[in-house]
Each structure stands twice: as C-alpha cells, then as structure tokens.
C-alpha cells in the first residue's frame, strides 16, 4: 500500500504528467473565475483532448487537475464581486463580499484560498484513508437516510434566516415550491411549466443563484456610485492575515472539510449543498451572531474548505464501485475507460497507484493554484478599488454569459433577470436569500427520496436505526441555537442583520 502511495506521487510529478497537470490548472483557474461556466461543462469540452493521452495518470493530471482548482478560483469571484464564480461558491458571497466592501478583500481571499488548500488536502486524504472501508461507507446511505439528510439540510434554513426567522422560513418555503416546477419523475405529471418546455427540466440552479446574488449587488454598486470597497483600509490587503485566520480557526476548517467529504460521498448532494451546510455550521458557532453576513471570517472559511473537500469525497463511490458520485465524476469515469482502466474493486487491487495518484493530484493542484493566487492576490484585491461605473458593464456581461452557459438557452437569461429582480427586492425588504436557494436544491432531493423510500419499504423505513439516529441529530441541530440562545440571552438579544 505504501509503495503504491509513493509510486502515485512520482507518477504525478514525472514528466509529461506534471506538464498536463499545469495545463489543467491553467484552464481550471480561468473557468473557476468566470461565473456560471462550471467545472462540469469544461470537463465535457476538454474530454476529447484527453483521448490522445495514453497514460491514465497523465490524462487524470489534466482532467482532475482542472476540476480540482475550479472550486478554489470560483471563491475569488464570489468574494471580490458578489458573483458566484461556481455554483458551489455562492455561500462565500454572504460574508466574503461584505469583507470586500469593508476593504478587507485581501484578508477574505487569503482565508478562502488557504482554507481551500486545507479542505482539498483533507478531502484527498479521506479518499486515501477510506480505501479499505469504501464499500461499506457508501452502502451506509440508502434512500431513507438521504431523505432525512435532505430534511436536515432544510432545517438549516433556520440558521441561515438571519434576523427574521419567519421571513427565512417563508423564503425557504418559496424555494421548496420552486423545486416542484418541472416533470415529476414519479407520475410524469408536468407541474407549473405554463406551456414552456424549458421548465420541464426544473429550474436550473446556476441562473437562479447568479441572478439572486449577483444582480442585486451590481444594482447596489451602481446606486452607491463608488468602488466595491467603500473605504480603503490602512493595510491594503492583509492576505497573510487571512492565512493566519485559517489556522486560528483550524478546527472549524477541519469540521467544515469533513462536512464537505461527507456530502461528496453521498450521491446527488455534493458541493452545492455542502457549502451551505458548512456555512450554517460556521455561523452557528459565532460568538456574536450579529456578525453573520457582515463580514465574519468564519463565514468564508467554512464554505471555502467544504466546497473543495467534496472533490475527494466525490471520488470515493467512483473508485469503489465504478459508479460516479456526481456529473463531473461520470465524465471522469468516461475518461478512465478510454485510457483502458476500469474503476471499481478490480482497479483497487491491480492499479492502486492510480487511485493514490488521484489523491496526489488533488493536493498538488491545490497547492500550486494557491501559490499562484498568492502571487496575484494583491492585484486581484485592488480590483475592488476600481470605480463601479467601469466595472459594472464587465460584471453584467460575465453574469449573463455565465447564466447562458447553463443550458445555452435564452430562457436562462430570463430566469437570471427575474431572479435578479426578486433578489433585489428581497435585499430591500430584508428577506434572506440563502434559504430560497437551499429550498430549491433540496426540495427535489427530499421529494424524490421520500417517494423512493416509501415505494421501496412502505413505512418500515421510519424505524431503521440509522433513520432514527439521523432524525435525533436533526432535532438537536434545530434545537441547538435556541438552547444556546436561551442560555446566552443575558448576554445578547436575537441577532439583527440580514444575510
């Protein structure tokens, strides 16, 4: 096993594998920065190029290297402009963008990138460590368990609600309703599509997220008539400060990384959900919850680490069974087949070194991209001091191109615009936006797995020990803030401020 571990490393750093890794990183770097254009779509476009690569590890350096860094650089766009660079980076806007407004972009970026490296490393090591127990680990979660986990996620709406619990719950409810749009998989009934074929496939999460978060910020920037950063802080950047923050809150980063791994292993959940869970967890732990949404560094570290560690988790079912854990993994699986490898139990026996090479690619790619980012972070942070009027046309262009790439449909732009208007009024009236997104993502998952559980087990699944354990855990998570608040009421009132 140790031989394979070492051999994996040498295969990754050997020429030309390392060259492919660098090309992959360079592409992933820009894909991550550009909003909407996601790792998955790029992977699909780059797949044909990997056909010409003969060695499995070399092909993987190119593809996995690219995928590994998109999560990291996606965080940068979220923090600097309030526009999600990747679907899985949206949660970083909540506290990262207010930091930019305060002139602390450097610190936020430092924290996001350092926590990404830690997250990616933990994700990769989890993959390595779990090799012997992969199969039971993946089989642990059936449909009933996934249903309860989705419910647990929905219960986080309370944490993400900010000042008004009622508004938060209502926003979450609207999200759940929006999730009902489209062709229902159980009966084939068409719900709320109003004759539009586009809506058959349910609302795409990218245009909604981009519209809901980015457009209000752009409008706000135009109204304010200043640069993104309202004031120039004494220290221009404080990138190192952000790095130090990662280690100041090291256990938080660890816990959020593990949340990411966990959601990566679960089929269908992945980074889009993990980031919100990690954010909710990070904000729950704040001593003064008034700070949430106003530039708390914890709110950057949590999702920053979680959305990178999911990559390692994602790979676990892919490697253990040859069954992809996400859309990106399905494409990687295709690449593996072309280079003549069959992931699954057989590959773990005969080509363990390839699995370890994947571990190394995740780690090395993230370290390289972090180093690259640190070189240019000061320049990037300086973008927040450019006059808004010059940035806005460029940002709007990015927003709409990004949304359009979701389905190459003009309807994506319509959805973005409508979400933008809705988002703007939500901000104006003090309605929190994250619950809506969470409801939209989890509504479909919760509905499907409730149906499957009932169709497969009747009502018996309600008494599964694992289900009961998860229900108890959910109740604890819901009750925890209230209990903590009761205890601490003498110290502070219910937090104000909207996320």
């Amino acid at each position: 096993m140790l031989d394979a571990f070492v051999s994996g490393f040498w295969q990754v750093v050997a020429w030309p594998a390392f060259g492919y890794l660098l090309i992959g990183i360079a592409i992933g770097f820009f894909v991550g920065l550009l909003p909407g254009l996601g790792g998955l779509a790029t992977l699909a476009l780059m797949l044909p190029f990997s056909y010409t690569i003969k060695q499995p590890v070399e092909a993987f350096c190119f593809l996995l290297g690219m995928l590994a860094v998109t999560g990291t650089t996606g965080d940068i766009t979220s923090i600097l402009f309030g526009i999600p660079g990747e679907g899985s980076s949206a949660a970083l806007i909540l506290d990262g963008y207010p930091m930019s407004k305060k002139g602390e972009a450097g610190r936020a970026l430092g924290a996001a990138i350092m926590s990404s490296v830690v997250g990616a490393t933990i994700g990769a090591l989890s993959l390595a460590i779990s090799i012997p127990i992969m199969r039971p680990l993946v089989l642990l979660f059936g449909s009933p368990e996934l249903f309860i986990i989705a419910i647990m996620g929905i219960s986080f709406i309370g944490t993400l609600a900010g000042s008004s619990l009622i508004k938060g719950l209502l926003a979450g409810g609207i999200g759940l309703m929006l999730a009902a749009i489209g062709v229902d998989p159980q009966t084939g009934a068409i719900r709320y599509t109003f004759g539009s074929l586009y809506l058959w496939d349910r609302l795409d999460i990218i245009p909604v997220t981009v519209g809901l978060f980015a457009i209000p910020e752009i409008v706000d920037l135009a109204v304010r008539g200043t640069s993104i950063a309202e004031k120039r802080s004494e220290k221009l950047t404080g990138v190192m400060e952000g790095v130090k923050d990662t280690f100041r809150h090291f256990w938080l980063v660890m816990r959020c990384s593990l949340i990411g791994v966990y959601f990566g292993v679960l089929p269908v959940l992945g980074a889009n959900v993990a980031q919100w869970m990690a954010y909710g967890h990070a904000v729950q732990g704040l001593k003064d919850r008034n700070l949430a949404g106003k530039g708390a560094i914890e709110g950057v570290l949590g999702p920053g680490s979680a959305n990178n560690s999911t990559r390692g988790g994602d790979l676990i079912p892919t490697v253990a069974f040859g069954i992809p854990g996400s859309g990106a993994m399905a494409l990687l699986l295709g690449a593996l087949l072309i280079v003549g490898l069959q992931p699954g139990p057989e590959m773990l026996k005969t080509r363990l070194d390839v699995t370890f090479a994947m571990v190394w690619i995740l780690i090395i790619a993230n370290i390289i991209v972090a180093a690259l980012c640190f070189l240019i972070l000061n320049q990037l942070a300086a973008l927040t001091f450019i006059r808004g009027g010059l940035l806005i046309p460029f940002l709007l262009l990015l927003v709409f191109i990004g949304s359009f790439t979701a389905n190459n449909s003009l309807n994506d732009l319509v959805v973005t615009l409508i979400s933008g208007v809705v988002g703007y009024y939500m901000v104006l009236q003090g309605w929190p936006r994250p619950p809506l997104i969470l409801g939209l993502i989890l509504g479909k998952i919760a509905e499907n797995y409730l149906w499957i559980s009932t169709a497969a087990y009747g009502t018996k699944w309600l008494l599964f020990p694992s289900v009961i354990f998860l229900i108890v855990l959910t109740v604890v998570i819901i009750a925890f803030p209230t209990i903590k608040e009761r205890r601490g009421r003498a110290r502070y009132e219910r937090p104000e401020g909207t996320i």
């Binding site: 779509a41 699909a44 089989l139 084939g188 074929l197 496939d201 069959q342």
Partner: protein, 355 residues
C-alpha cells in the same frame, strides 16, 4: 473647363476601379455552379443532450469523420440544445431548421411516444423528418439480483410479491420496459422511480433497496460495476428486447420468444412492436422536412460511408462507442410504421407510459 475634365477623369477612374473590383464576383456564380453544394458550407448538428453525454460523444465523433465523405468537404459544428429529453431540440430542428441540408438533429429515438399519446408540446410529425441514419441500435435487458427468488421471468410471473425495479422517471426505459413485460407476458414488477441517474439505481441494487433494472445491453458490457457483478454472479439477466438474442447474452430469452411461449394476443404484440421500435431507431440523425432529395442522398451515403470508414471505426472503438448502422431508408420506413397505430394500441401505450 479644366475642373470639368478633371471631374470626368475622376469619375471614369472610379467606375474603372469599381469594375475591376467587382469583376471577379461575376465569375464566382459560375464557379459555384460547378462546385459541389457543400463546398465552403457548414453543417450544424444540434444534439439534444448536454456535452459529454453518449449522444454528444457520437455526434462529435461523426462530426470529425463525416466531412471527408461529403463532396465539397463541409465544416461540421456540434451544438448542444438540452431540455425536455431532447424534445426541445427535435422541435427546433423540425420548425426552425432550414430544409437546406445544413441542419441536422441528434434526438432521442422514443420521442414518437409523445406524438402518439398526443402531448401538445410535440411540434413535429415523426414521419416527416428527413431521416439520415443512426450509428447504432440499442436493445435492452433486465438484470435481477441473484440472491432473490426470481431466477427466470417465469418466477416473476408466478411470484406473490413483485420484485422492485429502479428507474429515473416514467420517460425512461427503466420504467416502461418492465411495464411492457407486464402488458405482454404478465410479469409483475414494482417500479420504484425517482432515482437521479443510472448509477444511483445500481448503488441501490448493491444496497438491496431495489433488485432489478432495465437498461441497454451495451452499457452492461461496457463498464463497471457490471464487470464485477458478472464475474461474482451478483445479478442474473432475465430477458432481452432484441429480435434476436444478443451474442453476449446467448442464454437469455427475448421478449419475442416469450410472447410466442405465452401466446400473447395480437394487440399486446402490436404494443410491443411500437415500443420496441425505439431500440431499432437507435440514436438517430434527422433533418427538417423538405430537404431536397439530392442532398438527402448525399447525406445518407456519407453517413453510411462514415460508419464503414476504418479510421472512424478505430476511433469509435477507442471511445467505447458501439457501431451498428441503421440506414436513413430503414429509419424512414420504421417511422411510418410506428405512427400508424389504431386508437386501442395508443390507449394501452398511455397506460404503459404512466400517462
């Protein structure tokens, strides 16, 4: 006077320059008249799925090799138009594609179900598409976990409790193939739908949440976890849908054999024919109605030549794309056959499709 002359000279020179400039264009018309239609043109393939999907992989491979088999060697562009199980792409090609032989669509073979069952979103007549060809056919089968009491399809027919099969939705073969076996040979299945993907269903089979699934024979032999499953004897293959037994599944009865055995009545057989025709249609390439016959001929011939091209075959093998050509003429005949159905068959079909 002098200025007048000067002006004249200037006008003359302008006219001359203009004439010299446009002179070459006068011949171009002639040049084009002799050159093949497709020279310098671009053919767009509109694929009804996301980039990276199997339909997309086929289209991109074809776009790479087909130009050299068309006189004039046109360019090919692959464009992805996702949504509504390729219905958006089909509607687009049929209604907005110009019938000039420059727009092709790669669409799902079972879209005619929606036309037959009268979905109002269908904006095409399946029989009027210009059929170019399909690179492959897709026959299906059902796997059953080996540790269940259902050893053969007979056991499923006689079982007190129907086995649970997984599917992604009512429009997937995972749903309507087991339903078809209910209608034709009286096997009972309990179909659990709502899984996110095929992989999701296979994991559920590993966990024992469901025990059977219907999908393509090709995929079953192309990747994991199925290699391991076959080696360990984790699953059995119960039935297959091709007209003949697939060489890889020589001991598995076909639905046609079973319909003989159980004396399936004629109307149920007709239903089977309509639904199973989608497998023979494979992964079709179509153009809008009304493409000039000479261009249809060029495209159909080029399609056949591409499929027989040794380089293309090599590349397809490398990319794990199975080839089994269906010609445009065959597709056209099939399309006409499936749409001409009596109302009773359509009613039964609606039942099978969960509508």
């Amino acid at each position: 006077m002098k200025s007048e002359k000067c002006k004249m000279a200037r006008v003359t020179s302008l006219v001359l320059t203009f004439a010299i400039c446009i002179l070459p264009f006068a011949f171009i018309q002639d040049l084009y008249a002799q050159a093949p239609f497709y020279q310098g043109k671009t053919i767009t393939i509109i694929v009804g799925t996301k980039a990276g999907d199997v339909y997309d992989l086929y289209a991109r491979a074809i776009a790479q090799f087909m130009p050299k088999h068309i006189p004039g060697n046109p360019n090919f562009i692959v464009q992805n138009m996702t949504g509504a199980g390729s219905l958006i792409a089909a509607n687009h090609v049929y209604n907005l594609g110009k019938p000039d032989g420059l727009t092709l669509g790669a669409i799902f073979p079972a879209l005619y179900f929606d036309q037959l069952t009268g979905r109002k979103e269908v904006k095409f007549d399946w029989t009027k598409f210009t059929w170019i060809g399909s690179p492959t056919v897709s026959n299906h089968f059902i796997y059953m976990r080996a540790d269940t009491p259902y050893k053969t399809i007979d056991d499923v027919r006689n079982a007190k409790e129907a086995p649970k099969c997984g599917s992604t939705g009512t429009a997937s073969t995972g749903y309507y193939m087991p339903k078809l076996f209910e209608e034709t040979i009286g096997a009972k299945f309990n179909i659990v739908t709502g899984y996110q993907s095929g992989g999701d269903i296979d994991l559920a089979a590993e966990r024992g949440e469901i025990v059977c699934r219907s999908f393509t024979i090709t995929a079953y032999h192309a990747r994991e976890p199925f290699h391991t499953w076959r080696k360990k004897g984790f699953v059995r293959e119960l039935v297959q849908t091709g007209k003949k037994r697939d060489p890889r599944l020589p001991n598995v009865p076909t639905i046609y054999e079973l319909m003989e055995k159980y004396k399936t009545p004629e109307d149920a057989r007709r239903l089977a024919t309509v639904i199973l025709a989608a497998g023979d249609v494979g992964r079709p390439y179509v153009g809008p109605p009304g493409v000039p016959p000479d261009r249809v001929k060029i495209l159909r011939e080029a399609f056949v030549k591409t499929m027989n091209d040794a380089d293309f075959k090599g590349e397809a093998a490398k990319r794990k794309l199975e080839l089994d050509l269906v010609s445009g003429e065959e597709l056209e005949a099939l399309a006409k056959e499936v749409i001409a159905q009596p109302p009773e068959t359509v009613e039964r079909m609606k039942r099978v499709l969960g509508k």
